[in-house]
Symmetry: C2
Subunit: 313 residues, 2 copies
């Protein structure tokens, strides 16, 4: 890290899990001299100030972006367009505008038309998160060893892309660049459809009449509980993801359902070999995930026994 920070002034619009984790990184890793935070809800803004996440706090995004060299929208993808329209007249020439949305095609479509000439647009998506939301859920290590994907539209200033890349590396993240279209396809299978089926199985289980909800909860450690974690993710954020990455999600979902029908048929007809072959193949992929440093090798994610360490036993 040089003595000069990467940016003079950064504006974070939205201060949930990602925004607050960025704020902590900017401060800890000296990525900017000044951080302006904007969020619409007074309560959230007060919380951000109480946590001393920034240097200035605004209810109006337009106030936060004045003089900023880097503006990052950290909000659900459904409102990126509206916010961009609001802040656009207040952006200074040469500013870099970025975001952290889980869908890139739709975000670019929504944001780009509002951005004035002379402003650089470098969309980004850090593949990191937890099931929690809000400014108090952020933490410094969130991006470490994770991947952030940049999807700059063709013709974007290479120097602006480089600065955004350096920013994410400064947060401990790896960086890869690809088209928005490919990003949305990749994310549909590694993130969006997995979230959808987790939400779905938890919903199915909750609606049964033969098995009570209390039984489902009580006996959840046999597999179900893992899905409840993902299905506890922020409802607004995820609604927007599915509405804005519709094409890719529907495509991947169709493949998932086809494959599931094949397994269903194997079960119905007692075809153990098909099941065994798949289950062997998937085990190998787990090993690859661990070797790639994308998950812990500890059994059960290394989570402690529920209830924590017990006194006197």
């Amino acid at each position: 890290m040089t003595a000069d920070p990467l940016f003079e002034r950064v504006a974070l619009i939205g201060i949930g899990l990602i925004g607050s984790s960025l704020a902590l990184n900017i401060k800890a890793n000296g990525l900017a001299r000044h951080v302006a935070i904007a969020t619409r809800r007074k309560e959230t803004l007060d919380k951000a100030e109480e946590l001393a996440l920034g240097d200035a706090y605004h209810l109006d995004a337009a106030d936060a972006v004045k003089d900023a060299d880097l503006v990052i929208l950290c909000v659900p993808v459904g409102i990126c367009g509206a916010i961009t329209r609001e802040i656009a007249p207040h952006l200074k020439a040469g500013t870099i505008v970025s975001d952290v949305g889980s869908v890139k095609g739709a975000v670019i479509e929504q944001m780009r038309p509002h951005l004035p000439a002379g402003v650089h647009f470098v969309p980004a998506h850090p593949l990191a998160g937890t099931e929690q939301s809000g400014p108090e859920s952020g933490f410094l290590e969130l991006f470490r060893d994770r991947w952030s994907i940049l999807t700059p539209p063709e013709g974007t200033d290479p120097a602006a892309i480089e600065k955004v890349e350096a920013f994410w590396r400064g947060c401990g993240s790896n960086v890869e660049t690809m088209t928005a279209e490919h990003h949305d396809l990749v994310l549909a299978i590694v993130s969006h459809v997995p979230h959808l089926i987790a939400y779905n199985i938890v919903g199915t289980a909750a609606d049964l009449e033969e098995v009570t909800q209390s039984e489902v909860v009580k006996f959840s450690a046999s597999g179900f509980r893992d899905f409840t974690r993902i299905a506890a993710s922020d409802p607004t954020m995820w609604r927007d993801v599915f509405l804005t990455n519709r094409e890719a999600v529907l495509e991947m979902l169709a493949r998932f359902s086809e494959d599931l029908a094949t397994l269903q048929r194997a079960i119905r007809w007692g075809d153990g070999q098909t099941l065994f072959d798949l289950f062997t193949r998937t085990r190998a992929i787990r090993r690859n995930v661990i070797e790639a440093g994308q998950d812990t090798a500890k059994p059960n994610f290394g989570r402690e026994p529920a209830g924590g360490p017990k006194a006197g036993s």
Copy 2:
């Protein structure tokens, strides 16, 4: 714990994750004076002996059950019947025979006909496990605060049920009793279908041509990696589960698919309210799971950042 152990001699047939965890519990919690271990593979038996899991080691299950007061089959459900036939002539009168299978109806159907009169049969299923298998994967805490379900057939000696219940409580487990039929229905939704869809999504992702397998692995922290853990579970055990709990799995799978079709339709038609309502409802169920002590409240299961603590950064 009284000075007298619950059983004089216990025989564990099969010494994988569950068998070895039981062996550790029997020793640590003084549940029996003598533990005989049997497994078919020489290599596994040697491993068990090297780990000092028992007091006697046998390649032949029939040798291990002689004089045992409690015999527990800790093997994939598909071979419970064959093993019961082998050991039946060697069981002493009054012995309790139990198992740890994830499916109860089929296990009872397979085992019961072979058991001689005067032997008590108390089927059991500890709802605990990890994605790992083999004698070296067992650990003492596996059953702590988890649930074990007993499904004794009607007419089973209450004293035998009580002893098996005490045994599982001695391993730190909670105990509940229900019919085998209800057990199989409950497990289909809290365990079997979740495993099936995890195996399935990992298979779907591995088979894509537009997204490479290396991209899937690299970007897996955005949701997918959680599914790879479950999809790394023992292939033989899980093949047998699906083949033997066919009816209940197909029923629950049909409900899952119906519900998924509804979500698919909501995405296609841009019905955000349906998505938002479900995602809000499922979040509440996560809270119930945590309050019931069945999972950690820590974000991301409290797993450490991949790669572990980093030096010098």
